[in-house]
């Protein structure tokens, strides 16, 4: 890919800032084509992703084993920064990946668990049941996912756990308005 040299870069200086412009270094990869010549890269990628679906069950098993192991380490030896971070990353990965792997309800429970880890003022004071209920729910959702009648149960379980976690966080942060604001703020990320 062609890169711009320093002399292609134009800098305009203002009172508080500079505006830096340059010719688009990626302009050469954008081509105008006739409609009939237009392929479907998104459709092709969706097909390729569907081709990975056979591996998603094993991948999800790896993810939940990692989450369980992270919490077992905390139950045995208590919270440290490293153990807290590992538990958060394991839950956070499930939050991000589970829907892609076909377990959207597990993603919802993992999100709720992430919020508890991130916003509880003192993790040592969080009732252990709040952690175990979340982790057990994720395990159950993944293990029962193939049963059609379990889908609505999974969604309801996810919804109720989120309610319990949010109630706990609202109470635990009642004297910390800046945290409450973050907890109650809706997601604004652009949809995929």
């Amino acid at each position: 890919m062609a890169k711009n040299s320093a002399r292609d870069i134009e800098i305009k200086a203002f009172a508080t800032h500079q505006i830096i412009t340059q010719p688009n270094p990626l302009r050469s990869v954008l081509r105008r084509v006739e409609d009939k010549d237009m392929d479907d890269p998104v459709g092709r990628a969706e097909q390729a992703l569907a081709g990975l679906a056979g591996e998603f069950k094993d991948w999800m098993a790896t993810e939940i084993n990692r989450l369980s192991a992270a919490y077992v380490a905390i139950r045995h030896d208590g919270f440290t920064k490293d153990r807290r971070d590992e538990l958060f990353r394991a839950a956070h990965d499930i939050k991000g990946d589970a829907a892609t792997f076909g377990y959207p309800a597990a993603a919802g429970v993992a999100e709720s668990l992430c919020r508890v880890i991130e916003h509880a003022p003192d993790l040592e004071k969080v009732p252990a049941e709040l952690f175990t209920h979340h982790i057990n729910a994720i395990l159950a959702i993944v293990h029962e996912n193939t049963k059609l009648d379990s889908i609505s149960v999974s969604a309801e379980l996810s919804r109720r756990l989120r309610k319990v976690a949010d109630d706990y966080l609202a109470d635990a942060n009642r004297d910390r308005p800046e945290h409450l604001e973050v907890i109650l703020a809706p997601s604004i990320a652009p949809a995929g």
Partner: protein, 181 residues
């Protein structure tokens, strides 16, 4: 219609989760990309960024050693010998307003919340390829222009002053191409 020649683009993917790296690699290869380099933490990614000089960086946020936010901050060093202008797409499970703002202020170009979709990823890549934004350098920020729309009523503490026009009107390459239809 416009097509991106993905085979001319070099990607750097940074995610500590091997499953997500596999998914990203699969999607990018399906789009037509040939050169996809992978790192599992921010430190390795920074080293690979200097070595391979990717056109586009796609990074997770939460990672060990140093995370995607720190990676973006280290790439966006205006005095660095490397390329501080490469588009950075933050692909993350974080989706709170506060996180999006923090990522923006670290110099991230596009934000894509998980779960990932082929369409979402393609659109973010199209945005950075076809509609690059000028860079802004202030005492506290270096990165793509954070303004996405005109708000002449904005009176916040970081309002830029001294410009004839408060928002730089820069038609994107895509808009220019469309106007020729």
């Amino acid at each position: 219609m416009f097509r991106i020649d993905f085979n001319k683009l070099r990607f750097l993917v940074c995610d500590d989760n091997p499953h997500m790296r596999r998914i990203l690699r699969t999607l990018l290869h399906s789009f037509g990309a040939r050169e996809v380099y992978e790192a599992e933490d921010g430190a390795t990614a920074l080293e690979m960024y200097s070595h391979y000089v990717p056109d586009i960086v796609i990074t997770d946020w939460a990672m060990p050693i140093f995370d995607g936010l720190e990676l973006a901050q280290m790439i966006r060093q205006p005095e660095s010998k490397g390329n501080p202008y490469a588009p950075i797409i933050m692909l993350t499970g974080h989706s709170e307003k506060r996180r999006v703002t923090v990522a923006r202020d670290a110099g991230v170009t596009e934000f894509l919340a998980k779960p990932i979709s082929a369409k979402g990823l393609y659109q973010r890549i199209l945005n950075v390829v076809a509609s690059p934004r000028p860079f802004i350098k202030t005492k506290t920020y270096f990165g793509p222009d954070r303004r996405r729309n005109i708000n002449s009523a904005y009176m916040g503490p970081e309002r830029r002053v001294g410009e004839k026009h408060e928002v730089l009107q820069q038609p994107s390459l895509l808009d220019k191409a469309r106007s020729t239809i």
